[in-house]
């Protein structure tokens, strides 16, 4: 198709259509999980461990069972009869297998581990009864520090594993050892992000209904990937997949926390089946902070071999990640991406990594918007350290080491191919926008007056979409393909669906644009139906910034399929030999005559009516109906790039950091809906800034989680965040339909690096460098005290 990738010719995509979702969400008519009521439903709550590591000797549920309106009290022993044990054992080098039951029957592994579930007619009464469950624990020594967890003799999270080092992966290029040994200078840098949590404003939860007559389970749950979730749930309950329907209503944010099948949800589903009554569970905020998947917590060290000009001749990475006590995902998968794409836009031929993932007595980790969030900070912080040590301008060091924009596709040392990106252009465009030379003059002048300004630059090459070939190459089970259908009903109305599910990304709007573009209709006339596994085709869900390219791209392809069929019918109805000169505009068949477009009397509704109700008029051999299902496997990876510029003023006496300006230059290809994309970019940047400045799950030395309330787990408010200026140097991806790339995670990667580098730049007169987050005022003061 000639018009693919030429954004000038798009009629529906690339336009900032206001969102279709807004009407219901702005008026209080949204339907989130808790807004669904099921007749006869019961309410569940969980009893959770106050210990971080302890044997469960006995659980006395008698008093709780006798409490008013209590229907059931169950423990891990009950669940073991109704559910299978999950074995996480993908064929990945260096990764040890691990098993997990629905609820622990042997021992608890972190503060907040669920040990019993109460079902009552009312949530208040369920919580009353939960106080009556008596658990006899035998405390074990906990291990809450990932480095101690790797020591000989450390308490073991999984005894049978014989170690807490669940994954250890290494890589090196042929000449790296020699380069490092013979280097004139090696610059060493360290970086560490603390444990964080995705914190969707709507917590987790589910409603499970068992239909005894049809032996069918329906689960309502906020989830980003309904079909893989259904597969997991059916498997764990020993049901056929056809016996399970997963329905996802409006979702109040996910950010990676609503992908896996969690133990609590499995428990609720098993209980609904056992009790033959609907059961609902709404996680409360304290549970969400203590026991819904955490994220990050890593320590990184780089060593860069450099020459006197700052040219990097070799780079090594050590990464250790604290994965907590349970694996809802392969333990290597988050950290591995960091190691694979670390070098980003820089031409670094000799490279090695050593990535360890460790189990500890903390809540299990999972993805959080940009699982590889630390990547860009590590690379760009390393570059800034090189510049500081060699007395060079950090921009010059970047320019010197960057792959030239016209040298893409570029193959990284790890074998990943990056293409259709322009980090050089993004850097230069941003430098111009902020007025780099002028900034350095202001910085110098203001220091005389005790005003410490800093500028942080962070180039990001964002891995997005993740096609099946990437999964295969990384040894990760699963697939990166997506599936979609587009159906035109006999009346001419248009429905479309795909396997991805929105948690706020506005798919109902942007996907309608993709379908409209492919089919030749108005986006307002396309209804997007997502999130019901009986309706949507089996797809891999929303994660890894793949919604637009995988979801939107597949829908576009399905829509073009419908258009081709529709136009073939149109040709027949118009008495033409071929549809070659026909096209569809706003639901009407048009003829292309030279450069002129002439409307015909024929509409999509006419064609649909014929396709369904008058099939004898169809071209010979054509099937009745007007619908197409397509599956599409995107490239192994689509790369987007951006360059972030953060200006700060550090109040040296108090350690307070004020963001005085934030500019980002983005290249995320062609976009379905620019306003929605901008919203994603702003949200991602702020999530990164919030994490860098405020967020930290705090376990005390004995492993007790001290951040169970929002008064303790701090996230950025409106008063703490800047306005962000977004500039674009977009170029389309050459391989994807419509030239799409992903973009929803790079903002996190870039802002983490930009703010950290900015604060280090501001404090450079003191020789202080940010190596840990959050960049809290007291931590900055501690750093400054140590330097003076």
């Amino acid at each position: 198709m000639s018009r693919v990738n030429d954004s000038n010719n798009f009629l529906s995509i690339g336009k900032s259509l206001p969102r279709k979702e807004d009407r219901r969400l702005l008026t209080g008519q949204g339907r989130y999980l808790d807004d669904i009521q099921v007749a006869g439903e019961l309410h569940a709550c969980f009893v959770r461990s106050p210990y971080q590591h302890a044997l469960i000797l006995a659980i006395d549920t008698e008093a709780a069972e006798a409490a008013p309106e209590v229907v059931a009290v169950v423990t891990g022993k009950d669940l073991a009869e109704w559910t299978t044990t999950h074995r996480m054992a993908p064929p990945i080098d260096g990764l040890l297998p691990i098993e997990m039951t629905a609820l622990p029957a042997d021992k608890v592994r972190f503060h907040g581990d669920p040990v019993a579930c109460i079902v009552a007619t009312d949530r208040y009464l369920a919580e009353d009864a939960s106080e009556l469950v008596e658990v006899d624990y035998e405390p074990l020594d906990p291990v809450c520090d990932m480095f101690k967890a790797m020591e000989d003799g450390a308490p073991l999270i999984e005894k049978d594993m014989g170690t807490n080092l669940i994954s250890h992966q290494t890589f090196e290029t042929g000449n790296i050892l020699h380069v490092m040994e013979s280097a004139g200078r090696v610059v060493e840098s360290t970086f560490s992000t603390p444990r964080q949590t995705p914190l969707p404003i709507e917590t987790r939860g589910c409603i499970a209904e068992w239909d005894e007559g049809t032996q069918h389970l329906t689960v309502h749950v906020g989830n980003q990937a309904p079909h893989p979730y259904r597969s997991a749930l059916a498997g764990r309950l020993k049901l056929k997949e056809t016996q399970v329907t997963v329905i996802v209503p409006d979702v109040g944010g996910g950010f990676g926390q609503k992908i896996a099948l969690y133990r609590e949800e499995l428990t609720i589903a098993a209980l609904a089946r056992h009790l033959k009554r609907p059961v609902r569970w709404r996680e409360d905020r304290m549970e969400n902070l203590l026991a819904a998947s955490h994220a990050r917590e890593d320590f990184v060290r780089t060593r860069a071999a450099v020459d006197a000009n700052g040219r990097i001749t070799g780079l090594t990475l050590e990464l250790v990640e604290d994965f907590g006590a349970y694996c809802f995902f392969p333990a290597n998968y988050l950290a591995r991406v960091v190691a694979v794409i670390l070098t980003g836009p820089y031409d670094i031929g000799e490279y090695a990594f050593d990535v360890k993932v460790v189990l500890t007595n903390k809540c299990g980790n999972g993805p959080m918007r940009a699982p590889m969030a630390i990547t860009s900070w590590v690379m760009e912080g390393t570059i800034d350290n090189i510049a500081r040590e060699l007395g060079l301008d950090p921009v010059q060091v970047r320019r010197l080491n960057m792959v030239a924009d016209d040298a893409y596709p570029h193959v990284m040392a790890t074998g990943e191919t990056m293409e259709d990106i322009n980090p050089g252009a993004a850097l230069e465009r941003g430098l111009e926008a902020i007025g780099y030379a002028d900034f350095r003059r202001r910085q110098e002048a203001d220091r005389e007056h005790g005003i410490y300004r800093g500028l942080g630059i962070c180039s990001v090459v964002e891995s997005t979409t993740y096609g099946s070939k990437f999964y295969k190459a990384a040894g990760i089970p699963g697939s990166g393909h997506e599936c979609a259908w587009v159906k035109v009903d006999p009346s001419g109305t248009i429905r479309a669906s795909a396997g991805v599910m929105a948690t706020g990304q506005g798919y109902e709007t942007s996907f309608s644009q993709a379908v409209a573009e492919g089919l030749g209709v108005n986006p307002q006339d396309v209804d997007i139906k997502l999130g019901n596994t009986d309706i949507a085709p089996y797809g891999m869900g929303s994660r890894g910034a793949r919604g637009g390219t995988a979801g939107g791209g597949t829908l576009y392809l399905a829509a073009t399929g419908v258009r081709e069929k529709a136009l073939a019918i149109a040709a027949k109805l118009l008495g033409l030999n071929t549809a070659y000169q026909l096209t569809m505009r706003d639901g009407r068949v048009c003829r292309l005559i030279d450069d002129d477009i002439q409307e015909t009397d024929l509409t999509l509704a006419d064609i649909a009516r014929t396709a369904y109700l008058d099939p004898t008029r169809l071209p010979d051999g054509m099937e009745p109906g007007l619908e197409v299902t397509r599956a599409y496997d995107p490239p192994p990876m689509t790369y987007s790039n951006s360059c972030h510029f953060c200006e700060v003023v550090v109040d040296v006496p108090t350690g307070a950091v004020e963001i005085s300006r934030y500019v980002v230059v983005e290249n995320c290809g062609n976009v379905l809906n620019p306003q929605i994309v901008e919203g994603q970019q702003l949200g991602a940047i702020v999530m990164g800034l919030s994490g860098s400045l405020f967020e930290q799950v705090v376990y005390d030395e004995s492993g007790y989680n001290q951040t169970g309330l929002l008064a303790d787990y701090l996230v950025a408010t409106a008063s703490d965040m800047p306005n962000i200026e977004i500039l674009s140097v977009a170029t389309p991806n050459r391989r994807t339909p419509i030239g799409l790339k992903g973009m929803a995670e790079g903002g996190v990667m870039g802002s983490i690096g930009a703010i950290s580098n900015a604060v280090s730049d501001a404090l450079s007169p003191f020789g202080a460098v940010v190596e840990n987050h959050p960049i809290s005022p007291s931590r900055l003061r501690l750093m400054l005290r140590e330097k003076t």
Binding site: Y124, E127, T654, D712, L782
Partner: protein
Amino acid sequence: MKPAPFTYHDAQSLEEALALLAEHGDEAKLIAGGQSLVAMMNLRLAQPGHLIDINGIAGLDGIERDGESLLIGALACHADIAGSDLVREACPILADAAGHIGQYAIRQRGTIGGSLSHADPAAEWPLMAILMDAKIEIAQPSGDRRTVEGADFIQSIYTTDLGPDEVLTRVRFPCVERDEGWAFKSFARRRGDYFIVAVGATLALDGAGRVSRLRLALGGMEVTAIRLVEIEQEAIGNTPDGDWIEHIAAAARGAGEPADDQHADAEYRRELACVLVTDALAEALNRSGRG
């Protein structure tokens, strides 16, 4: 996170509230705005068997001037105090501090009486009560009233002089004098958070521009806010200038015995005390007759 059961009593008069307290003793808890209490009840950290709602008692939310005093009823909410012209005129530091409490919606319901009774060490009202020598008026079971000095009322973290059978009814603050400077400075991780350290100061000068009265209190350095009485007394007769401010700020740095917590270590609190006292005195001086 659902509260434990309780019996609800909607007291319509002070007498009724006192009678209910007398009847239910330790089982009972008063609720005014409930902005701390209900959160603690939802977490089941507080499980009163009887909840006595005093919001229906008429006349407990007034703000009025009585000569050289400002009288603020226990049920006056932070937003009303922050927005009161009378408070801005008579004792503006109170309006300023009230405007720093929590978030907009919290300020609409949280009350001065509730905040003082809760006695969070990082809250604004206990600091103001100690700074301004507030007189806390308390209704006793007998119906008699007693009055306690702010510094005596706030005893420790979450601990006050208020008996389990008593009701805090009103707070009496002295009005600041004409030309008396004042400043409230606080430092929190985010807007609306409980402060790490806060400073309240008032500064009156005599005709010669020398200090005639300094009030200076620090929050966040101890389990309660502390009044820097020795510094205040030494300051009398001094000429307030940059050196003077520096001298006092340095002395304030050593005040109290701050502790380490998640948001700040003790040394950081000392540093903040020094910075905030410097800022507060400079601003108070600026607002004083001389400024």
